[in-house]
Subunit: 383 residues, 2 copies
């Protein structure tokens, strides 16, 4: 079994003075320092990035990263829209399964704020179906379709969604790497402008810059002398159709369900054992669907349960969700998101989460989604 032995993330936000590879370099240096490793101890690198090609005409990142790391190791770039980071982690974990005694860096990074909203939106829509692109649908629009279906079917309204923004901004206020570190009230969320009804500005994750890195290893010597470490119990991937119209149901993300069921089976853990989870709350509805699809809540009850705020870091409920601030408040530099999720679980399970530390956190889960649910990666960790 492999372990996560180090983590570093840049500040997420509008980082206009830094390029993508400035951020990546900061993450590489930071994670090596945090895990007390030399460059030469890294046997391979996996890099999750979505948009550098489309936005910056910048491909072949493995070779760019080779210039930073300064060795000739294998370096891989993985792209699966907003799940690029999670997929890079999954393949890196798989790499370790096939190669005993190795240490791998998993990087994610994205540079998104140097472009106009129209340019970024068009680039992001490259992850949806051609038909949806042509129809002018945006990701808020696609998730709004799911939100409307869910609210209508189970008799909820926009107030139910608003508790996600409230909770995740509260968490973000305790994370000095978060894009937004300001609390908002449920009323603030409800008063914010519509992006795509019923989703409002404060239901939606922002466009961010940032890079993050973890080190994972199955080298007994290196893991043995690491001060902080968590075990990777499972990492599973599932895909689904890219367009919503061909989905079996609009009230679930099937790929999350399948990947989650496989991951719980692989980990041999009961769902009740999970104390911290980082879920893909690109939109408020997505966190509610994820809690249900992962089997933490019954299908349809999420809209009610969120109002009890059981997922707050200090609720004492036994399962805190998106303590980093989630995509909503910590920000969503696409390729970095899946890595930051794993990093947050690392911090929580090793008692390094500072002001937002969840007490007695022993097991954690991450769920990273690409597009409107076309790809899902679910990973499970324990200390």
């Amino acid at each position: 079994m492999s372990s996560v032995i180090g983590y570093y993330t840049t500040k997420f936000g509008e980082l206009w003075d830094k390029s993508l590879f400035d951020l990546v370099e900061e993450a590489i240096k930071g994670v090596l320092e945090n895990s007390r490793l030399e460059r030469r101890q890294i046997d391979a690198i996996f890099f999750g990035n979505m948009l550098a090609g489309v936005l910056e005409n910048n491909l072949h990142s493995p070779s760019r990263i080779a210039e930073i790391i300064g060795t000739n190791i294998p370096i891989f770039r993985v792209e699966a829209a907003c799940a690029s980071g999670g997929m890079a982690f999954h393949l890196a974990n798989n790499y370790l399964k096939a190669n005993p005694g190795k240490t791998v860096m998993v990087l994610g990074g994205e540079k998104m704020t140097d472009y106009s909203p129209e340019e970024t939106t068009e680039a992001l829509m490259s992850a949806s179906s051609g038909e949806e692109q042509e129809a002018g649908l945006t990701f808020p629009g696609l998730y709004a379709v799911m939100a409307n279906y869910y609210l209508e079917k189970y008799g909820y309204d926009e107030e139910n969604l608003a508790y996600i923004g409230y909770k995740n901004h509260l968490h973000g206020s305790l994370n000095d790497r978060a894009h937004f570190q300001k609390k908002v009230s449920v009323e603030d969320v409800l008063k914010s402008s519509y992006v795509a009804c019923p989703l409002k500005v404060l239901d939606c994750s922002p466009i961010s810059d940032g890079a993050a890195a973890v080190i994972i290893s199955n080298d007994k010597k290196i893991v043995g002398r690491s001060e902080k470490q968590i075990q990777i119990l499972a990492s599973e991937v599932a895909t689904d159709t890219i367009s919503l119209k061909t989905r079996k149901s609009l009230g679930e993300i099937l790929a999350t369900k399948i990947a989650g069921d496989k991951a719980f089976k692989e980990s041999k853990l009961n769902r009740k054992k999970i104390n911290v989870a980082e879920l893909h709350d690109c939109f408020s509805i997505a966190e509610i669907l994820a809690m249900e699809d992962l089997g933490f809540w019954e299908k349809g009850e999420g809209g009610r349960v969120v109002k009890t705020l059981v997922s707050l870091y200090d609720s004492g409920s036994g399962l805190a969700v998106n303590t980093s601030g989630g995509l909503k408040a910590a920000g969503h530099p696409v390729g970095a998101t899946g890595i930051k999720q794993i990093g947050e679980i690392f911090l929580q399970l090793t008692g390094q989460a500072g002001r937002r530390q969840v007490k007695k956190a022993r097991c954690g889960l991450t769920q990273n989604v690409g597009g409107s649910g076309g790809t899902a990666v679910v990973s499970i960790f324990a200390v």
Copy 2:
């Protein structure tokens, strides 16, 4: 150990009536039919593609492929410039090492001819360094720098390079899937226009459309009942700096050397055992450097040896090179190239190479390069 048990490639060429995913779908159906497998027997898919994001604003291909395959299996997209296909294969092989009893499809595809030469050139240059992009260097320009260095250092001239175009077009004339199926003479090559001195049109691989697929498996039952199969003895990757100016030497591709040495060590084969090799002849000079960097020829002797045409399919020398026609004549739909190389070795080692069949071919090698040598993948096979 895993085996290649099936191969399909579309025709490579200017396929204006087909989209990228039309070609991918043809390759998926073709390879399933050739290997007599059902969709449900495929456990994962790896897809190599470079340019769909930049040229077509088309990302998240895993989910697009999920719509074609119709199941919820893990699907990964890998990008490493012109080595995207080879890298996808490497990671797929690694996936099998970690997961016994599985069957994986490796796909590669690219759609390049629907754009103006300027658009395609700019997109391709996304795989070079920012400095090289800004200086207006193109890939013919970068390889011309290496060619000039090599010809000058070892006292050769353009005629030495021209034998690569002659040989590979002759091979292409025997391959009905090749982009160019017309023979050219050494004189034709020498008379063709300069692209970047000393490289002429007939020293350069074309811009092509196409898709290719192989099936690899370590499921004993499935491999056992396959009519045709070859073993994967090794697959290794190395990276180097993205820009030429930071390279140790302009007379070699260091990443090829490192990946090759590792692959031969892993395969436990002597270089003399290789009977067929598919090398990354994006430019004539690249095939000569590859033969030397892989240790088939001494450094510097390649320019002389090519003129003896020992690498022709029927030379009887024991090592035939680029019998598919190589990138030069078979074409270079970037993501598909690395897969087509493996497919050609599969055809040769299983006696299915028709008019270009090499006699007594038992072992084969592929070398796939990204950018001007920033990434190299070397794989070794035996029947």
